[in-house]
Amino acid sequence: MTDSPVPIRVAIVDDHPVVREGTAALLDGQPGLRMVGTAASLDEAAPLLDPSAVDVLLLDIRLGADSGLSVLRGGAPKPAIVVLTAYDYPQYATAALRLGASGFVVKTAPIAELVDAIRRAASGGLAFGCKPDLSAPAPLTRRELDVVRLIVDGRSNDEIGAELGIASKTVEAHLRRLFDRLGLQSRTELATRALREGWLEVP
């Protein structure tokens, strides 16, 4: 147990009142955690996405007709997100990891596991109660890997083009194809995913 002088600010988004309030009550009693907000829908959850107000956001996937995963897709800075769902499907865990969630906890897991995941997420780590399946990495060509490596370094298209000896237009085309193929929306997302899933470690 870490004795952080400042308690971790936790918020929860779940459309089921009993679970939402019940979980909030359970967590509020944990040392070092402080519940700072609850929301029953994605609309209500908007203020909880401010990283300066919330450290860790517990997010349900099935929210009425909405999907909690859509919160993960936006590019804006967010609190660390722990997906909290009734479904222990590895496909959800994989998607959560790919989209940048810090943790994945099944609702029926013991409360200690959830608390542990929150603490790890708050300190920048990962906590997946259900193992994501990364056996099928995104297939990238050599050239695409080169481009991604330089994107991770924060280079611009012109710099990448100069480095690889190709036109910056070609770099742009590579990126556009990657975005389309992987359903990504920004260079940051691409870089994050490449690092998380270890694409660049492939020899």
Partner: protein, 608 residues
């Protein structure tokens, strides 16, 4: 360029062709027959009537091709003619003269003045009886098809070369509402019928070209009936020329650039062939039969390809879908339209029969088409559309119901159970907590079967992973091969693809044998799904049987595919077993498909 082509095809050429044809036909109809129109030939030791011109004096007096000449001016040809110095055999060249000399007791005269000949042979008949006497009139007796002897007066003045003779047999040809009038009627009524959409929306684009292609073969009949060189040239060119614009209209419906180019070339070659056949092959009919058949092909070949309701066709498949009732009905319309000009061309192949008879085939055909469309095809299409819509509504209602039940279990029972697990955990009752976890897992499985939440959140690919994992654990080895983009498809398409995969996999596990392989390929422009097993395969005719006995698996998959406009094929897998294949092409292909919150332009910006 494109619009120019369209103008060319839609209006200019057909209108020009039809105007030229009508004018020429009216002139030809009004002009008198150039001769008595009788062509004799010598065949198997008999003098026979080779052909009789339309509307000619000979035709009016009832002579028909094939009639045998039994008496000429009281003499019996051919045997007795030998004794009569007035009759000689006339042949056009030395070879034929030699042949004639060897084949019968003929007195061959090498040069015969065309003046005064009683009967002549056109170049294609080898020889004919010729009367060299300066005789005003002689009598021809012949046997008709029933064997009844008939008599006919032949006036030499009616023959070519002596047209100036005043006593030529200019029997006035009684006017008949022949091909000219029926051709004009088809042109005008057809234009109205097709243009008003009564012939089906698929044919709207052929408003001008279809009536023209149908009417011109009738309209050229008066032009070509006397078989003069000029007339034959005009007629031979006009018919295929009238077919070409319709062929171009049909080409617009043919799928696939390669097929289109191939079919277009074929139509063009057929048109050239038709004109060549009519011009070069001598014939006793208005146009050569081959000319008419090839002209029919000019419209029919592109029409046939335009009528195909399926973009693709798998060989040996037992079940295939991909067409709505209206699309099928439109295909039938196009196919019928493609055959119509060909039927009109039949008129051109008749030999010397009274005018009105020659238009019967096309009139009967048009009447049959009208009746079939009015009383069978349209009502069937309406019925089938209604049934399909009702079926899709029922399927959608069932899906909605399952989703609702799944949501209820998830939102209510499962969440309460979750909290129960927490409370039991906190209370330290781990045994009961685990039991409750087990119940929760079973409830989740039920939810997953009713409506897999992964499908809504993550799309088809991850859902298939889940499904294959589950079956792999429960029912034996199942493998998934996935490739393509991680884009999202429209909701109804995702659900349909998943349900087809689910049904096909259930069948494969139940009836087939491992290895069971699911191949899924997803692109922004469409998806392809294949489910293979190595079992005994479908029994022949199982698919038809399924439709009747209600073995609903196959029928259900076909319905799902039809509802999204996909093509489902169920057939044998190469190497044994069964292959279920679903192909769906995004109708908005090209546009970035998927439920991405960020439009394609924004992504393009980010790529810069």
């Amino acid at each position: 360029m494109k619009s120019l082509q369209r103008t060319f095809a839609r209006a200019l050429v057909p209108i020009a062709v039809v105007a030229a044809t009508v004018m020429a036909a009216v002139v030809a109809e009004a002009s008198p027959a150039p001769d008595q129109g009788l062509h004799l030939a010598y065949e198997n030791g008999q003098v026979v009537v080779a052909s009789v011109d339309y509307g000619s004096a000979a035709q009016q007096s009832g002579i028909r091709p094939g009639d045998v000449v039994v008496e000429l001016d009281g003499s019996n040809p051919p045997g007795t003619w030998n004794d009569d110095p007035h009759y000689v055999l006339w042949a056009s060249d030395q070879t034929k003269r030699d042949l004639a000399r060897s084949s019968g007791p003929w007195d061959v005269v090498h040069t015969v003045s065309p003046d005064g000949i009683a009967a002549y042979a056109v170049a294609q008949y080898e020889w004919a009886m010729v009367d060299v006497r300066e005789q005003v009139q002689w009598e021809l007796t012949w046997m008709d098809a029933q064997g009844v002897p008939r008599a006919y007066a032949v006036y030499p003045g009616a023959l070519p070369g002596s047209a100036e003779d005043s006593y030529s047999l200019e029997t006035s040809v009684p006017w008949e509402p022949g091909p000219l009038v029926f051709g004009l009627a088809i042109l005008i009524v057809g234009w109205w019928w097709v243009g008003s959409g009564r012939a089906g929306t698929a044919l709207r684009r052929c408003t001008v070209t279809l009536p023209v292609a149908t009417a011109v073969p009738l309209l050229v009949v008066p032009i070509v009936r006397y078989q003069s060189a000029l007339e034959t040239v005009v007629g031979s060119v006009l018919v295929p020329l009238a077919m070409l614009p319709l062929a171009i209209d049909f080409l617009g419906r043919v799928e696939g650039r390669r097929t289109r180019r191939l079919v277009g070339s074929a139509a063009f070659v057929l048109a050239i062939g038709s004109a060549a056949a009519s011009l070069l092959i001598p014939s006793g009919t208005s146009l050569h039969t081959w000319g008419a058949i090839l002209a029919a092909g000019v419209a029919f070949v592109p029409g046939f390809f335009a009528a195909r309701p399926f973009g693709r066709r798998a060989s040996g498949a037992d079940v295939e879908t991909g067409a709505t009732p209206w699309a099928l009905s439109e295909s039938t319309d196009v196919a019928l339209a493609a055959m119509t000009p060909g039927i009109a061309c039949i008129t051109l192949t008749f030999t010397s029969v009274p005018y009105s008879y020659t238009v019967w085939p096309i009139l009967v055909w048009l009447a049959a088409v009208w009746v079939a469309r009015r009383f069978t095809l349209r009502p069937l299409a309406r019925l089938a559309t209604r049934t399909t819509r009702q079926r899709d509504l029922e399927a959608a209602a069932a899906e909605a119901e399952r989703a609702r039940i799944a949501a209820n279990i998830h939102d209510d029972a499962l969440q309460e159970l979750t909290m129960l697990v927490r409370r039991l955990d906190v209370a330290g009752d781990h045994e009961n907590a685990d039991a409750a976890r087990g119940i929760a897992a079973r409830l989740r499985a039920i939810c997953g079967d009713l409506r897999l939440p992964i499908l809504d959140d993550l799309g088809v690919g991850p859902s298939l992973e889940w499904l294959v994992d589950r079956l792999d654990r429960l029912g034996g080895p199942v493998r998934l091969e996935r490739e393509g983009d991680e884009c999202r498809l429209p909701n109804d398409v995702e659900l349909a693809v998943y349900r087809v995969a689910q049904e096909a996999l259930t069948n494969a596990v139940k009836h087939g044998a491992p290895p069971i392989v699911v191949r899924y390929r997803q692109k922004a422009v469409g998806v392809g799904l294949e489910v293979d097993d190595a079992g005994p395969g479908l029994a022949p005719g199982a698919a038809e049987l399924a439709e009747h006995t209600g073995r609903l698996g196959l029928v259900g998959m076909a319905q799902r595919a039809e509802a999204i406009g996909g093509v489902l094929t169920v057939g044998p897998r190469p190497g044994g077993g069964t292959r279920v294949k679903l192909v769906w092409d995004d109708p908005r292909a090209g546009a970035a498909a998927g439920a991405s919150a960020v439009p394609a332009e924004a992504r393009a910006m980010e790529a810069r």
